[in-house]
Symmetry: D2
Subunit: 328 residues, 4 copies
């Protein structure tokens, strides 16, 4: 059963996709004929309705991937490969309060709003009116605008938007849990970034050129940030043909570099302790001794399972060194 | 202010990390001396406490990335690069009900449980007792076990665990919104997969070898699934040095292949319509005309912004072709 | 000074390239007007001549890369990234005798013929008449046909072409130093391959799909070959813009997999000794401790130079363990 | 039959390799016992001799790959993946005269010397005495020193070494066909580079950092060079297991960036014509319409072969537009 306002993805017999809010009072004119949307109500997600010419359309619940893909764009938007990783690095989940600039077309905003849920909030800043408007429309179309505070505001003046009511969850982004910047000169805004997030918060950046990475690294070097990482993510697709399996001929080779850092936290005895700017042991997660093989999927029946990886245990350590405080 | 039970990440002056549930009644014995955890309560996230030898430790709120990283493992666990992407492809977010097998060490389970929030649920199956136990411990350590139903159960007998009460949200995974399989022979379980998810649900698989991909593709060809994708994700890290920027010398070259598909949905006039097994236009998202440059970050001041990308609009189309149903 | 018959690459003001044999008796009609080729004789390589409309054309000596690029093709040809690596792995150089099948359009043949010089020889087999002819034309255009013996011959009948005169360097490929196979089912020809090369010779294969790799590996397992390697080569290009350096947006993601092996050599005491099918330590060349940095280009003045890498020395060892035979 | 001085690669039963010049008057002490080298003379390449303890050693003719691998190094040497590609881009083959700096450990020098044959020549410059000596020893060990002129000379003073006799093929590198620079600040030497190569010659550079690329691009912008390319080459290896085929877990992610350019050639009517600094159509070679599939290896029997690719033909055009000059 669909409820009016539910997001639906309509898929044509040829795989063409339409992202819509379900409205049983409308008809959808497709190239295969007219769909009477009221028919969708009964069949629900996974069901099929036919156009007046008899062509079946599947009704699907859109995934986050498809929500992002459905964003109308005037700019390049972030790709799911970067968004998915950033979501994990920034710890975005139900209840998170996250700041973003610029909004652009609202692709990243959509993903953030989806993941923070009704208990979190996205504060997104955009100085260009046409993008401010576009992002708003896209969030509305995705049914997520109620989780987002949008500001047509230039962050070079800080993250305190006009009309901000200090302490108001809807207009005051102070103490945000995380922040993501997709702007041209992020190094110009590091002080403002440090001021708007809570101590120790993770922050992320997207930049297209190596020169910008160098500039940002110089900025981070003299700002209260630590634990800096620079990386890029590549997706390689395969032709899904069982007997002639091989990679696609071409791939996207570059969409942007991701840079992550941590706000350096609060002072201790009057000074912010100098923790490493970069952690030499930051990557062990992907540099472990036991690679590639997923035990569940890769160990033939009867083979032994690898023993416990002690090295990891010591890295993010277990609780067994903790001792109860003597109550006496 | 920390509350007992809050997850904290303690970072040593050298960057060593400890993931813990905050317990003000304990001391933590580190190689830098003893930390009295009660001191952490006042300083909170981002703050610093010192060992009895005077070494400062930062207290951080762990990100999802760090939660996954903190999982103790006896097997290879999934990496954030694959987890983040799968989260988006499967549409995992607040409220999602998702099925997983096998649990393995619980890395993916942790991420799923984090993202579904208190309104969603993770059903995870594991036939090997030692992993069933390990995943349970890891979820407990991450403070997420209340969102997870764990079953020590072999899925070759289906996803109906012993003791399942039909319709009970805690024990009955039926009609799940999404499913992820990290097992050795997923093609043996496709009927059961189709039976446990809701019509049209997205499903994902992780496999280490090309032979397994071919086998799975053959299985999907004769099962009620469509819209098949095969891909892999690579992360390339850079040395974060502004004046000598370059990629790391080595990288992880392979952790596994990801395969995604859609349950084919419910019948229409008695038959399930044959939608494309694979969508030739599935990748346009990453094959657009306007690449690499992020308008916000890449267009120098004064340059014009690229015009609206009409091609995308038509792909996941806007609502303007819909017309109100004539109420007469 | 150019000599008639010299290969020249003519480059238009816009970068368009024409590969030709220099013939001072002709005119070349370009879209920029007519070039009187006799004028090229005096100006020579690196010089410029103008069309009758005054547009300057540069005259260059074509590199091997450009010779390969200039091959007219009806099929996909091998790319320089694979050819260059194969040349090194197969030890192709002045004097080498190398067998190839199929000729295809002659791209690899051109590269082989260029490198073996006038003292070596390429024996190339092609069963399809149209490619046999095309490769011949391309070799003629590149001025390299005198180094190549071409056979319109199906190698499933072995590498003994019709009309072969045993021991004749022009028609008998026996005892070849190396061999390269770019055919659809190379596993069907491994006996013939083993018969035509000299003992211990390196052989290479190009295959587009993973299924073919598995089939070839099975064939090599039961044939007199050892030291098997499977790899692929990726080229990633950058936009050559100093202040906005970044990778190209797209790249070629797959052209083919390369497989290399060694003929297992001659028997010893009646049996061919079982050497490793694959060498676990085969890759140390690219797995050394001292990576990325090229001492010459990367060590700032005044920094110390890394000390001698002893590990490598022992791998392909120096001569200091050899002792003169006692002449007494 | 081996001749004294022939290069041999001795392979132990476990795959350990020893690169040697064949000397029938010596014994080789291995960890498997003593090899009497005189026995190798009769068995020749591909043959086997046994140690006094009975362990069989294969005798192989080393490939160029193995010659490079056998270089003893104090620095990082260039890898075959870069060397092979550079050989093609620079057009190195029998008869080529090529300049190189710095010599480093002599890895690239070895490859260049191998390919230029006895009719070509390598001029290699190295300012650091310890590397000058090391490269000399390595070339001697590879039996290639007679093709190389080595200079212990700082190229910031130009490529005219002390003791140079103008016009002497052994000491005067003037008019070289190609040049390769692996030095820290190549932009400081572009005038000297332009002076030593022949007009229109291809030149190559290896650099580890993106900052250096930007600096070099700026230098090339104001120097007589054109047709600039920046790229990197990645090798991905697979575990050669037929039934469990998959990429190696790790790979080398960065060894260096390659930059190629062309000397801009000689003046025309007093000025060097401005040809494109970079060719927008430079990559069509790898951007063709008909990718991945190698017709010979990939088209199943009975399928049609792709038709002639006309686009390529026009790029490096055939001779049919040329017309004989009217002799009247």
């Amino acid at each position: 059963m669909l409820t009016p306002g539910d997001l639906i993805l309509l898929v044509s017999p040829k795989g063409k996709q339409y992202l819509r809010k379900f409205d049983p009072t409308t008809n959808l004119h497709t190239q295969d004929g007219v769909l009477v949307m009221q028919q969708a109500q009964a069949v629900g997600y996974g069901g099929v309705i036919a156009t007046h010419m008899g062509h079946p359309y599947r009704i699907l619940r859109p995934s986050t991937y498809e929500l992002i893909k459905g964003v109308k764009r005037s700019t390049q938007i972030m790709y799911p490969k970067e968004i998915g990783y950033a979501i994990l690095k920034l710890g975005i989940g139900p209840g998170t309060r996250v700041v973003e600039a610029g909004s652009g077309s609202g692709g990243m905003t959509t993903a953030l709003a989806y993941h923070v849920g009704d208990t979190g909030r996205v504060y997104t800043f955009e100085r260009r009116p046409e993008f401010y408007d576009l992002a708003g429309k896209n969030l509305e179309a995705a049914g997520l605008s109620h989780r987002v505070s949008r500001f047509n505001h230039d962050i070079s003046q800080g993250f305190a938007p006009e009309g901000m009511i200090p302490g108001d969850p809807a207009t005051d982004p102070s103490g945000a849990d995380a922040l993501f910047l997709d702007v041209r000169t992020p190094w110009d805004h590091l002080e403002q970034v440090a001021a708007v997030v809570c101590p120790g918060a993770p922050v992320g950046f997207l930049l297209p050129t190596t020169n910008q990475i160098s500039d940002l690294l110089r900025g981070l070097e003299t700002s209260p940030f630590e634990d800096v990482e620079v990386l890029e993510i590549l997706i390689r697709r395969y032709k899904p043909v069982a007997d002639r399996l091989r990679p696609e001929d071409r791939m996207v080779a570059h969409t942007g570099f991701l840079i992550f850092a941590r706000h350096a936290g609060t002072p201790f005895n009057g000074v912010v302790p100098v923790l490493p700017k970069t952690h030499p042991d930051r990557e062990p997660f992907e540099d472990e001794a036991m690679p590639a093989a997923h035990a569940a999927s890769d160990v033939p029946p009867g083979e032994t399972v690898p023993t416990r990886d002690a090295s990891l245990e010591t890295e993010i350590s277990s609780t067994d060194e903790t001792t109860p405080v003597d109550p006496s």
